[in-house]
Amino acid sequence: MVGDVDCGKSTVVGRLLLDSGALPRGRLERTRKLCAEESRPFEYAYLIDALRQEQADNMTLDVARIFLKGARRDYLLLDSPGHVELLRNMATGASHAAAAVWVVSAREGLGENSRRHGRLLSFLGIGQAIVLVNKMDAVGYDQGAFDRLSAECLELLKASGLTRVRCVPMAAFGGENVARPGCMPWYEGPTVLAALDEFDAEPPDSRLPFRMPVQDVYAVARQGAGRPVVVGTVESGSVAVADDIVFYPSRKSAKVVAIETYPQNGLRRAERGMAIGLSLNRPFKPRRGETAAHAREKPPETARKLLASLLWLGQESLATGRRYIFRSGTTKVPAKLDKVVRVVAAATLKGGAERREVRSNEVAECVLRLERAAAFDLASDNPALSRFVLVDGHRISGGGFVRAVVS
């Protein structure tokens, strides 16, 4: 759930909870009572914006995880802040989402920050979205106003690559089109709650090769003898007992003797998402940061110089000459900015002039140079294994995808 400040996003979420029956008994009454005691008007947003400062400022500060029941499935809503200064929190929410709900205001229209949100959705890898045109009551439930604003939103999303989109006109405070149809007879589409149920579950791509970044190696005692177990989570593809696997970037190979679980359940094949351990037929210990791949599948890229697109959130600009930590999978390696290829102002996503640094809240394409070779996939091949973050000092200050290897 994303949207600029004052688009009414938290009111939408509050109404969704109330109208879908997900609020605990007495919660609405208690929130109304607190508002009365503190002499301020009740807002549905207070059901969501739990922090004192959020209620005082009428603004979401950080991502809230909110559970919602639909007719078709349950939802975890990541209600993300809209303010431009809180883009890191918006990006945090969006990076964990399978689909997006983008709230825009019929009264305020599409401002710069709103456009930035829309464009970041597809940048962060989201493939489907609903646009909620909120505050239709403020424009007299006018179909023309809805048509104009939704066309503008669709165009923007389409330009950044997000095409599976549906637009819903609504008025959150009165609950129009939230869980029940509102007073807009010209609109024949679903309510917000019904539109959520139209989202597709993203099926895992079964053609992707096996990848498991090594998290650790544990010594497990069994029948008196200790043996190393390589643990990690299968990020794509699958692995089975007796498979030949190769660790990158070291290129050491081994055969899988057993898939280790506790209690041992005799698992023969492990699939994407499973947190497992592998016993190997060789005594060597791969290190954290290596990635296991199947010997007969396409290997990951291993390189020291790469082209990446990233969102920078650091207070200090991303600049040449400074040392960062590049993290991808479980790899952690010192890195430097080699050059800025193109800064795409996050608000407009248009190419900018030549630059030597990337400022806070900007999206850019850059060349990064790693101190040692790391293993990863390209975004066009296997997005999950192309993700990385850059740590500046002790703080994650940017995140993005590897686009290409630079020779």
Binding site: R27, L51, A64, R65, T92, T233, A275, I325, A384, R387
Partner: protein, 294 residues
């Protein structure tokens, strides 16, 4: 994989990341409640049988006696490295709510938040389970734990819904929810300046009913206070005896509790409605949690 499998595997991944990042600096909180016991079960799976870090119980001395008996029995059976901390000064000075000296929130702060901070830092008195005798004995060691795994869930109350999987606190354990670093995908924050305390939350996206389904599926042994033992009463949430009240419910098994939560009498009743301290903090635990409450 089922929904529950996905939750389980993600939590195991987070536990392994925490151990890889913090090693000997890491400990896990165990309150003997259903959430932290389920988390301990997950930790046994993550580390293939043996949990490689200590379990810390903050003992307010007002816990329901059955909980302490269950704690000691389970610790012996599972071979846990159990550390128990307590704010002995506050208890000796009778600065508690049951003694009538302070309110509920101040009591929570002294016996839980302060005790937790001092136990992790090593400033406060600590006891450790002696595996040979099965008894607790004073543990004098300077060892501090800079990272602690806690079994909080986002659906419990408002301030917990704002947490991250890896969340930094100040050296004094203060939490500033407005200043949390970004958390991209599963590339969690594990780099912090010296002096930072880190809270790790592997159960963040589990709901109450998910935990009970998992307890049912895995047959995790819990303290029987959670079940109706014949008087039509059971605890839904376990805390200190003076501030926790049982609910009317005839559920005798985890499966019956799942049904009660999903479609039965508890479908729309808040989980912590039997925890009196929540009401005194505007219906949230925000004030306490900013100061370091778990």
């Amino acid at each position: 994989m089922t929904f529950l499998d996905r939750l389980e595997n993600r939590s195991i991944h987070v536990l392994r990341e925490a151990y890889a990042a913090f090693g000997r600096d890491l400990a896990m909180l165990w309150s003997m409640g259903k959430d932290s016991t389920a988390l301990m079960w997950l930790a046994r799976k993550a580390f293939l049988g043996r949990i490689p870090f200590p379990l810390v119980h903050i003992d307010t001395s007002f816990k329901i006696p059955d909980m302490i008996a269950y704690r000691d029995g389970t610790a012996r059976e599972w071979g846990l490295d159990l550390i128990v901390g307590q704010n002995e000064a506050a208890l000796a000075g009778c600065r508690t709510f049951p003694d009538g000296a302070v309110g509920r929130l101040a009591c929570c702060r002294l016996l839980k938040s302060d005790a937790l901070r001092d136990t992790l830092d090593g400033r406060g008195p600590r006891k450790r389970l002696d595996p040979r005798t099965g008894r607790l004995k004073p543990w004098r060691s300077g060892r501090a734990f800079h990272a602690v795994i806690a079994a909080i869930r986002a659906d419990e109350e408002g301030s917990r819904s704002k947490e991250r999987y890896f969340s930094p606190r100040s050296g004094e354990h203060f939490w500033d929810p407005a200043q949390q670093p970004p958390e991209f995908w599963n590339l969690y924050n594990v780099d912090f300046p010296a002096g930072t305390q880190v809270r790790v939350h592997p159960l963040l996206e589990w709901r109450e009913a998910d935990v009970w389904e998992y307890v049912d599926r895995e047959k995790i042994p819990l303290v029987d206070l959670y079940y109706d033992r014949g008087d039509g009463l059971r605890y839904r949430s376990l805390g200190c005896a003076p501030c926790t009240t049982p609910i009317e419910s005839a559920s005798k098994t985890p499966a019956e509790i799942v049904a009660e939560l999903k479609t039965g009498d508890l479908k729309d009743v808040a989980e912590r409605s039997g925890r009196a301290q929540d009401d005194e903090d505007r219906g949230t635990l925000e004030g306490l949690r900013r100061e370091g409450y778990m």
